[in-house]
Symmetry: C2
Subunit: 151 residues, 2 copies
DNA sequence: CCTATTTAGTACGAAATCGAACTATAATAT
DNA sequence: ATATTATAGTTCGATTTCGTACTAAATAGG
């Protein structure tokens, strides 16, 4: 495989990833309604999928966004009582982000509401193929993630 | 496959797509520097990858963004002479978006500058697996795209 | 035709995102 | 210990994104 071929494949791949992300985010945004953004929901989801109790800085790093953007998202989530910001006992400079029961419920309800969309598309989507593509995405994610941490 | 399994697979898939998109967009943003955004570059790329001469409305629809957002992106690109906005001879209300030579050159140069990133990752990335995952992404894209057009 | 409705784009204000500067605390060096 | 440097978070202003209202042109119905 020549470098040019690799670049072409990678560029096509990331291009498709971008489009699929736009389309799926739009689906999610519809379900979220006007209350929250996809970014805010993603933080909530991350707190469950990975863990909560992390600092805002750790979340900003995980999402590859400036800490000021994360502060904004967390403020909105806290105002709606979906998360709690407590002081960090181990570091007086920072805080810890904990998801509330209301936050867990909101996440569960939102995911469940997406089942209608999946059901509507279930006879068209090839879930076996999607399942097989998942490890590829995870591997690419891991490699890109390690790469950016090599600063 | 139960509906719950399908929902789980789909949710994991779209979640990974979102993360990979964040990471790859960050790589691209680094190469773009402070001059342009990923959104603006994506428009430029679309004009080549699909076709130019389209109306701003068609582009807004393709990118699933409000027309006001597209107007803003196009204004920035036009100010930097990477595109031209001409009146539409077939419709006095609308315009046509054409990429300039400078726009083509900028896109080519940017893509070429990404070859360094790909080369750095080339011994870790499995391009064969990525190539095999590409049709899956394209199929999912097509299905989501058709679905949203059924309004 | 002529009116009513729809559509493309713009103007404007609100919210989200981001970078730079600042404060407070922690870690490090001497 | 004390001074220096680094880090976490906030504040503030600029850019991007977006929804609503508006204008101009095309389409549809009578």
């Amino acid at each position: 495989m020549t470098p040019d071929q690799a670049l072409g494949i990678a560029f096509s791949f990331f291009n498709e990833v971008g489009i699929v992300n736009q389309l799926s985010s739009a689906l999610l945004q519809k379900r979220l309604g006007n209350g929250f953004t996809v970014a805010q929901f993603s933080v909530l989801n991350h707190l469950i999928r990975v863990k909560d109790g992390q600092t805002p800085m750790a979340l900003a790093s995980a999402f590859q966004v400036p800490k000021t953007s994360m502060t904004h998202s967390l403020t909105k989530l806290e105002q709606n009582k979906l998360i709690e910001l407590r002081s960090n006992p181990k570091d007086g400079r920072s805080k810890c982000v904990w998801i509330t029961e209301a936050g867990k419920n909101y996440r569960e309800t939102t995911i469940a509401s997406l089942s209608g969309d999946i059901a509507r598309l279930s006879d068209k989507l090839d879930f076996d193929a999607i399942q097989q593509a998942l490890p590829v995405l995870q591997q690419v994610r891991q490699i890109l993630d390690e790469d950016r941490n090599e600063d």
